[in-house]
Symmetry: C2
Subunit: 379 residues, 2 copies
């Protein structure tokens, strides 16, 4: 898990071997290494970028206003932030209007549409920080989806001590990513495996499997394929996602792993697009999911009429659902959408837990929501 | 496995929800999407980058000379290559001397010291291309290494149909990455899991597990920690790597998985630094490894005196080794080092297979070597 990075000249003099890097991207290296980002002991962050010919450089950081950087006489731009809360932050440099990753930092915040660099400002035992506890594993499965018609993958977190040969049956949380993430988003950015390791070690969460599927039922929603995005793409994206989950991913998981297949041992939650998918998939299949959660959910991707998306939902759900949990940040652009949805739930007499927290539409919120939500499950 | 990328405006009008991207890195997006890279039907590649204020932009591609790009009146730089062989190529833009990833492409070639973008020029059933065959899984394990003193990971490829509950015992290939890669390098860049799926489906390779550990016994060799690189760092890097492999990774694998623990069912090979590590670890532990391979190996990282690194090696190895395979590209800067090593092997009377192929010190060579080497194993 060596993920910090510095572009240095790779003269391994001690070894007698010059390990020349392939390619010709290392023009800047001859001028010496740049250290970026540098996290100071007081939690200020120094960002640096060598770009002698640039006219204007900013750094944009997750959850913050962008900052102008200034150039020194060696062509190195830098800026020092105020002290920030310990967390994992995505960031990008904007060089003369062009977004670019930090070339001195190998820690990435992968995203299909907007990969950024990432900086860790260390705290003390925060949920997403690796600690000296037993670790689970991450299993990446590959399959061809007949429902969607593409090659895709899903990840399975197995908790410490999981043994498919043992008789113990584990509950399963299906954990969905947001629009423009891929199936690896909840591990690479969300650190779900680290959060679960820590929650399980402290006894806060029950040992469980966490399955992280690809969340696109209609991948053309991403706008990458050249295929037209028809007006029904939002609803089709949800419907085909649910079909792939229910007929492909869940049967594969329940065949491969030692899991409890009862409705009270199956949960679904997700963030943003995945929050909407969790609500629609979970509440339309109360025979499958006893626990449903939404983190900053996009509740209207299938349309503004909740009754059309959830035609059968009424207070009869209350005897089936162990938990319906909805969280949204007060600075999230989806706040009103979530308020409208929970008001609608009240008109239907559906019991739910609704919480408005600090924060916007960012991973800073979603890692905390997972740490709050997972302990509630399978009780 | 959605990995193609385009930075587009994310107005999901069809869904009634504006999915604003976090951060402020999308200044350029308002000017419309850039398509890069575009692979033409005749296998030329068009690279594009919007950088209106740049004075000079090049693209550096793996295994090729860098190409100057030219700017159009909208500030978009582009260049079209000659037709290239179908393959996976790393590349980077060099903008006024600063290396940068392609912001329009989410397909990465991750590397601790030099992450690049990657472009796939499709062929017809090449070993590293996903095809409609049964797929194995990739399992990522996390652990604290007592030998090295850090938190690290290793990956395990399990072949299609692998079942830890079954009685079948599988052979294991330990597959090592090169200097500046991490434990994910052989899957993210080398596509080892895809290569193995294809080889196994066609009957060319026996079903086997492939274990991909982190290859640093002395991580300060990367020059990132601030710790001094003492003259013995190369030898220590090999020695501690071998100790971590033999006392931590292998016991963990053999406890967790249904594997054959006989010497004839254990192979080790690797690329560059990992090639040297495979030679030194394998040939110093003939009681552990019956099959040893080196891909473009760095044979002198422990010093120029092969006899000092392999003090006990003599023709007695021939009755123990099923295969000692050494491959090197004719344009590789380590060609002479490999020639010297094989000459030394001859003086020791050690039987080996030595092949000089086309190619330089690049992943283009190493994917092919794995496809050549794996079929020879466990026969």
């Amino acid at each position: 898990m060596l993920r910090s990075k510095n572009r240095i000249g790779l003269m391994m003099g001690a070894c007698g071997v010059t390990m020349a890097l392939a390619g010709s991207a290392n023009v800047a290296l001859a001028q010496g290494p740049i250290r970026s980002p540098e996290v100071l002991p007081d939690h200020r962050i120094v960002f640096r970028l060598r770009a002698p010919n640039a006219k204007e450089v900013f750094v944009g950081r997750e959850g913050a206003q962008r900052l102008a950087m200034t150039k020194d006489d060696k062509g190195v731009w830098s800026v020092t932030t105020d002290a920030v809360e310990p967390d994992l932050y995505g960031y990008t440099f904007i060089v003369d209007g062009v977004g670019t990753l930090d070339p001195a930092n190998s820690l990435m915040k992968p995203n299909i549409l907007n990969t950024q660099s990432m900086v860790h400002v260390p705290g003390s035992g925060l949920p997403w920080e690796v600690s000296d506890v037993p670790h689970g594993t991450l299993v990446r499965h590959f399959y061809k989806s007949k429902v969607v018609g593409d090659d895709r993958d899903f990840y399975v977190y197995t908790p410490p001590g999981y043994d498919s040969r043992a008789s113990k049956k584990y509950p399963v949380l299906y954990l969905l990513h947001g629009f423009s993430d891929d199936a690896g988003g909840w591990s690479a950015v969300g650190r779900a495996h680290v959060i679960m390791d820590n929650l399980i070690a402290s006894g806060k969460a029950k040992p469980m499997l966490v399955v992280m599927p690809l969340g696109y039922g209609a991948p053309e929603i991403l706008g990458l394929t050249g295929a037209p995005r028809t007006p029904d793409v939002g609803q089709r994206n949800i419907d085909k996602f649910a079909e792939a989950l229910l007929t492909e991913v869940i049967p594969s998981v329940e065949k491969t792993y030692s899991v409890d297949t009862g409705v009270k041992s199956r949960a679904i939650c997700g963030l943003s697009m995945g929050g909407g998918e969790s609500i629609m998939t979970g509440l339309n299949h109360l025979d499958k999911f006893g626990w449903v959660g939404s983190f900053s959910g996009a509740m209207s991707m299938g349309g503004q009429d909740f009754g059309k998306s959830l035609p059968a939902l009424d207070s009869g759900a209350n005897s089936k659902l162990k938990l319906l949990w909805i969280g949204i940040g007060k600075d999230d652009f989806l706040l009103k959408n979530n308020q409208q949805f929970t008001e609608w739930l009240k008109t239907k007499g559906v019991t739910h837990t609704y919480t408005e927290t600090a924060g916007a539409h960012t991973w800073l919120v979603w890692r905390r929501y997972l740490a709050d939500f997972a302990p509630l499950l399978f009780r």
